[in-house]
């Protein structure tokens, strides 16, 4: 019972108000996060929120956001869920693979791989 220091965990959940699940619709690891431009940025945003808004001015997958924040994925998801609820970011649900990867994208991917 004593081998683990609960400090880091408590700090992490402090970022999310103790929540481990994001608000609203679930989103995928590679769902694309993009900052809503021109939205009013509340003054009380925590640094993690600001970091997301800055990073996602360019569309960024959820997993990348977690890596940049150096936070666990589900903590990152709670943060993203909050920002989405505030209307500060959009999170696009990836479409079915078969429909999103058309001939053009397939060829682009093959070409990209071959030129590595």
């Amino acid at each position: 019972m004593t081998e683990e220091d609960p400090g880091p965990l408590l700090r992490l959940f402090g970022l999310t108000g103790g929540r481990a699940r994001p608000q609203g619709e679930a989103f995928d690891l590679v769902a694309i996060v993009v900052t809503v431009s021109g939205s009013y940025e509340p003054a009380e945003l925590i640094p993690e929120h600001r970091a997301v808004l800055s990073l996602c001015r360019r569309p960024t997958p959820v997993a990348d956001v977690a890596a940049h924040l150096e936070l666990p994925l589900n903590i990152t998801r709670v943060i993203l869920g909050d920002l989405r609820r505030e209307g500060l970011i959009n999170i696009e649900r990836p479409g079915p693979v078969a429909q999103t990867i058309d001939e053009r994208i397939y060829r682009e991917v093959l070409h990209g791989l071959r030129s590595l």
């Binding site: 019972m1 683990e4 609960p6 965990l9 408590l10 992490l12 959940f13 103790g18 481990a20 699940r21 995928d28 690891l29 590679v30 694309i32 996060v33 993009v34 809503v36 431009s37 021109g38 939205s39 001015r57 360019r58 569309p59 997958p61 997993a63 990348d64 977690a66 890596a67 150096e70 936070l71 666990p72 994925l73 589900n74 903590i75 990152t76 209307g87 959009n90 696009e92 990836p94 079915p96 693979v97 999103t100 990867i101 994208i105 397939y106 682009e108 991917v109 093959l110 070409h111 990209g112 791989l113 071959r114 590595l116």
Partner: protein, 193 residues
């Protein structure tokens, strides 16, 4: 591309696509090496907080719980162009993290099952998993130093794979070799050949 110019609430994101590919296989078979060999970034490492029971902690009671643990998730990225990426996720090796595969597998283009012929049975669970869920996969036999080269047909028989599932030999330390495996997977997943 100037995404900042888009109107609030519009789906400027529609032009961006991250394609998910899983790298599976037994412990120590070379999954992390494979991701590192081909990734344009040092494999990023994130962690998933979870409870031992395999479900997310739903309330603050979980915070005090000593059953909370973390599982590392390594992933790499290949940028095809601005707004089009391949993401490679190494699947957690330990059995107790199987449930995480469900999330990883949803929407994945396909998977590479890495096999070590010295411990071929280690990749049985991954093969079963992807077969059951209909996730396209290829089997890549990692040819370690000193390991004699195996006949892919024998590996296919040992794994009882359908004829159309590609079995290829590779060296996960070599970029061109990993690239060929991914090319095979993408073609198989999209074209079925």
């Amino acid at each position: 591309m100037d995404y900042a110019a888009s109107e609030p609430g519009t789906t400027a994101v529609a032009s961006a696509l991250a394609i998910k590919i899983l790298i599976a296989g037994g412990f120590g078979v070379g999954k992390t090496t494979m991701v590192g060999t081909i990734s344009e970034i040092r494999p990023l490492h994130t962690e998933e907080l979870l409870s031992e029971r395999g479900v997310g902690v739903d309330d603050t009671a979980g915070v005090e719980s000593k059953t909370t643990t973390t599982v590392a998730l390594d992933f790499g990225r290949i940028t095809i162009r601005d707004g089009l990426w391949l993401y490679l996720f190494g699947t957690p090796g330990q059995d107790r993290f199987w449930f995480m595969w469900d999330e990883l597998a949803v929407g994945a283009l396909g998977a590479v099952v890495l096999a070590d012929t010295r411990r071929l049975k280690d990749c049985f669970p991954a093969v079963d998993y992807f077969e059951q869920r209909g996730v396209p996969f290829v089997v890549a036999v990692n040819c370690f130093d000193g390991a004699r080269r195996y006949d892919p047909a024998k590996v296919r028989r040992a794994l009882a794979l359908k004829e159309n599932i590609p079995v290829v030999l590779c060296d996960v330390r070599r970029r061109d070799s990993v690239r060929d495996v991914l090319t095979t997977l993408v073609t198989y997943a999209v074209k079925g050949v």
